[in-house]
């Protein structure tokens, strides 16, 4: 098990990570969510022993790894957000190069390269220079490099940024299979809430350097269990209509986009008369409305006051 204890990183300009605590057990997938600047990347950098913390500790099997990071590095794979590969090498050459850094015996490395190429679906393209790969292929190889030494723990920092839906699905399936077949524990950060919902057993939500919520998906959603999310489709939508909605004390987390207005109301609250009267007053045509269970996005909005991708 990896435990993060009171981990802190302070700079002259401020504190990027402020006394956070979390853990990850073998075989589970943990999501780390947070808007830009929340401190996720700094947390990952400290967790992967790239930068030393100002305070706190990272424990592997209850032993600190700060003084001797090699024990953690042997069992940890890191998939950076950036494509950290040599464009002028082929996929096979890249895998061989990074595999050699883990001092793997030649025959073992040869086998692992073949297995990893299969896992990431690049066995047919393994002799092509990486600079000629598509974005999705580069992302898959970026993951493959981190899998070579069969890590027990894998940190994946936004592994699906900027790729087509097909490659994204392939990556998500690869991650799922990896977790199921190899029992690899994964820390997964993403801006895509649906990815986190699909993959993760537990979730930590970070904001302004702190962990502001944690638990299973159900536990996190239960934060909003006393509320319902209402999505209303309207026509002739106007700013005055929105302003009047915002003034209603029983509506919260109001969000609008392209003829859709979403808000949360307390369960049991009869909001319909007010909504109808506002529509009539502003001559807004109410086309439909839907009562939804709260999503992680709603919880995130509720906790941070910001949408995840803002």
């Amino acid at each position: 098990m990896i435990e993060v204890v009171n981990l802190t990183k302070a700079y002259k300009k401020g504190t990027a990570v402020d006394h956070i605590n979390f853990y990850i057990e073998p075989g589970e997938i943990v999501g780390l969510l947070g808007p830009n600047g929340a401190g996720k990347s700094t947390t990952i950098a400290m967790l992967s022993t790239l930068i030393p913390p100002t305070d706190g500790d990272v424990l592997l099997q209850q032993k600190s790894v700060l003084k001797d990071p090699s024990s953690l590095r042997k069992v940890l794979g890191v998939v950076p957000q950036e494509i950290a590969l040599y464009g002028d090498l082929t996929a096979k050459e890249n895998l061989n190069f990074f595999g050699n850094l883990y001092k793997m015996p030649k025959t073992q490395l040869k086998n692992r390269v073949e297995v990893v190429l299969q896992q990431i679906g690049l066995e047919q393209e393994s002799k092509k220079l990486v600079k000629h790969y598509s974005g999705g292929m580069k992302r898959r190889l970026n993951i493959g490099v981190a899998l070579l030494h069969e890590p027990q723990y894998l940190i994946m920092d936004e592994p699906t940024v900027g790729i087509d839906p097909q490659s994204r699905n392939h990556i998500l399936e690869t991650v799922k299979k990896l977790n199921e077949h190899s029992n690899t524990a994964i820390i997964y950060t993403s801006h895509y809430m649906e990815e986190v919902e699909y993959l993760c057993d537990r979730i930590y939500i970070m904001d302004q350097g702190r962990i502001i919520a944690s638990g299973t998906k159900e536990e996190i959603k239960a934060i909003l269990s006393s509320e319902n999310t209402i999505v209303v489709k309207v026509e002739n939508y106007s700013n005055d209509f929105m302003n009047d909605l915002l003034k209603q004390p029983f509506l919260s987390n109001i969000n609008s986009s392209e003829g859709e207005v979403a808000f949360t109301v307390a369960k049991g609250m009869n909001f319909l008369p007010t909504l109808f009267s506002l529509c009539e007053h502003h001559r807004v045509l109410l086309k439909s409305f839907q009562v939804e269970e709260p999503t992680l996005e709603d919880v995130f909005l509720h906790l941070t006051g910001r949408a995840l991708r803002n």
Partner: protein
Amino acid sequence: MINILKTKLILLKREPLSFIVITIIICLFAYILGLGQQAKLPIAVYSNLDKNLTETMLQELKKMPDVEYQLYDEEEALKLVEEGDVELAVHLQASSFELISSPNFLNAPLFQNEISTIYREVMQNETIVTAYPVEQQKNIQSILNEVESNASFNVEYTNFSNDGDFIYDSKLHSLFGFTLFMVIYTIANGVNHLVMERRNHIWSRLTVSSIGKTQIYIANLAYSFLLGYLQVVLVLSIFHFGVGVDFYGGFFKTLIAIIPYLFCIVALTIFVASIAETPGKFNAFIVVLAVPFAMLGGAYWPIEIVTSKVILTLSYISPITYGMQILNGVTIHGATINELFQPLGMLLLMAVILMGIGINVLEKKGHS
């Protein structure tokens, strides 16, 4: 470490253009500025001596470096001087020789001395040989040749680097100058790998692997050093073995003596890498540093001819100054390690300071 070096060499093999271009530029500039301008001074010769003696005299005269003696008849030789095609003509006679020079040729007295010595020796030998009967002359000539090659007294001329004399060999100067200057770019290209790897997070990947950071640094620095060294060996070998430039017997010493300079340049580029955030900025900083260093260090022209005290003082900050001192030292001056202690020490001191600061700043930035 070997793995990193091997990978860098594969990358060099796939993208060799800048290495090849820089090597060609050094060769071109060194050739054009050093050897291209070194056409031999033509001197016309006409003679009243018999054919054999004239040939012997010409053979001896042609041993003078940087001068091309050509035999003409009298009318032709005088016409060449008149028309300014040659600066000097030599008229060889039985009892003496005569120099006919153009009015602007100021080195006639120097040539008079040199030619006089040669003329006297040849005529002396001729007098001795002809004093014997014809059947013995061949034997006497071989005895004279033997005496000449195994002289009883061996007189050597040496120059001391500290005797204040400035000895200038334009071929070596331009070769050394451009090599020391341009190899900065080659080494910088090697170190730029490190800047790019930090930028695209390959460096992070290396850092979280099982090999130590020291090994990563050593591999990167060794690659840059070897890249520069390979280029220097290549260029100097081309000029020594291919073009025939005289290294005064110090060719192999040159290959060893250049090592501290290359080490210092690796340290300098690491220092620049520590303050440059991007590969583009790194290249810009290198250009901004390398050109003034070359000017101040005497890569373009000998620093000995500069009279400005400011420039002479500034030249102490340029590694090229010390590089030129060392290379000239081991070739032209035949200097020993003791005599080169000061430039060697300065290069190593600069290397240690720049490397220390550079790596520390890089590490601090890596932690922020």
